[in-house]
Amino acid sequence: MLEVRDISVAYGAIKALHGVSLSVAKGEIVTLIGCNGAGKSTTLRAISGLVRPGSGDILYEGRTLRGVAPHEIVRLGLAHSPEGRGVFPNMTVSENLDLGAYARKRSEHAQIREDREKALDLFPRLRERLKQSAGTLSGGEQQMLAMARALLARPRLLLLDEPSLGLAPQIVQLIFRIIREINAAGTTILLVEQNAHMALQVANRAYVLEVGRVVMSGDAKELARTDEVRKAYLGHG
């Protein structure tokens, strides 16, 4: 469904990615783990068009995303819930959700309303806060809003950047349960996480990124058993 082929990305003089390749098949949960600054977010940004790779190519459902603007990529069914959630703090929860469906046509009105109900069923806490401004939500609620909003784009592929960042353990559990549910309902997921423990549990496959390169990849459960991953990412001595 998604194929990233040997992409390199630089921010001015700083090289963030040096030839990253990865693929995601329909129906999978794939996770991308790595330390701070490894280039995880940059990889997602390249996929959603926010940064342009200097070389390499990205294919989504068989077509190249080279030169396609971010707002057009959303229309292709690829939604990106960014690092730090990116909710619009001055807007209400309800308006934030509406923005999630911005790319969809007016004629899809009924379908959008249905998706909205589904997203709110997934995150009932948001339903109670529809009129509240998003800036006043707790960190966990903002994360829920960011995910619900991404779902309103009706993505076939969902990119999630560190959904568990800074959240209390119970909320992290909840978020990961919902990631499973979203996947079970038919959405393919590419998940970036620092919480490697949880990410490897939920994912089918995993890639390990170190300073802009993929250093390991494979079945998530098997990777979790290797010494390198246990030592570097799971905190086993």
Partner: protein, 308 residues
């Protein structure tokens, strides 16, 4: 009592004009985070185009007294022409340097401003001599309170400004494109991830801001009937005051610009009526300094707190 009423009336009239112009500054700042110095020149363009359209209309219809729709038609034409001008300015001058350092953008804005001023002075454009706009409203006194007359012209001016502001408020807070504008103003990148076409939103912002500027120029022409040449300092001062209104209200904040415009207008008129009439500019810039010292974000501006 009469003086109070008269001052209030004048304050609202000039304040709503400032507000219309301030909206253009604030909308562009909200989205692109730069001060569009060429904005006041679009106001001037609006005033001069109103004059040209009014003369044309007068010649074509050969009116003795202007028909009731003359003002509306001239206003719409001027707004449409300035909207187009705003679109072109953004496309030709600002879009190519999107993402460039702020100083470059600022210098470009000053360049656009000088260009418009100098082009307007050419004889084949508006020339360097002041001109008078034909009467567009068949003025009459509607009612009188004490010794203060409320005329059709007063009502038309304030009514037009209010209608446009209500329309803008509705657009920004209750439509899809308005939601897109607010999203882009918070974060271009995140907005684009929502599917908001950022470039189109920016174009729309310039188009709307310039149309409102044209309305400001039109109302100015209606009010003072004499229109000065495009590089006249009175225009610069008008633009500066509208800019102050935007800052006082909270730059980037649409409601703030409306409030700031009215505040500045009232301050000027009350200062002139009850203090020294020669010092109106001092009051305005004094208020600016006070606001910047006490509430740097402006009256309605507030720091946005983001949770981590």
């Amino acid at each position: 009592m009469d003086q109070l009423l008269q001052t209030l009336k004048d304050g609202i009239a000039i304040g709503s004009l400032y507000a219309l112009i301030a909206l253009g500054y604030t909308m562009v700042y909200g989205i692109l985070k730069f001060i569009n110095f060429a904005h006041s020149d679009v106001v001037v363009l609006g005033a001069w185009l109103s004059l040209l359209f009014a003369r044309k209309l007068e010649a074509v219809t050969g009116w003795g007294a202007p028909p009731w729709w003359a003002g509306a038609l001239v206003l719409i034409l001027a707004m449409a022409a300035c909207a187009l001008a705003g679109f072109c300015i953004e496309r030709l001058a600002y879009k190519p340097i999107r993402g460039a350092p702020r100083l470059n953008v600022l210098i470009t804005a000053i360049g656009v401003s000088l260009f418009l001023q100098n082009m307007g002075q050419q004889e084949w454009m508006f020339g360097t001599r002041p001109a008078n706009i034909p009467a567009l409203v068949n003025d009459a006194t509607l009612f009188t309170v004490g010794r203060v007359n409320f005329t059709l012209l007063d009502a038309a001016g304030v009514g037009t400004a209010l209608a446009l502001m209500v329309g803008l408020e509705w657009l920004v807070f209750h439509t899809k494109i308005g939601r897109g504008m607010r999203a882009v103003s918070h974060s271009t990148a995140t907005a684009s991830l929502m599917g908001v076409p950022v470039n189109r939103v920016i174009s729309t912002t310039f188009v709307i801001g310039s149309a409102l500027a044209a309305a400001g120029g039109f109302l100015w022409a209606l009010k003072y009937s004499q229109i000065k040449q495009t590089a006249d300092t009175s225009w610069t001062l008008l633009g500066l005051k509208a800019f102050v209104a935007a800052v006082v209200g909270g730059i980037g904040n649409v409601r703030g610009a409306m409030l700031g415009g009215l505040a500045i207008g009232m301050l000027e008129m009350f200062g002139a009526a009850y203090l020294w009439s020669s010092m109106t500019d001092v009051y305005v810039f004094g208020l600016l300094i006070a606001v910047l010292l006490l509430r740097p974000g402006g009256i309605l501006g507030k720091a946005v707190v983001e949770k981590v």
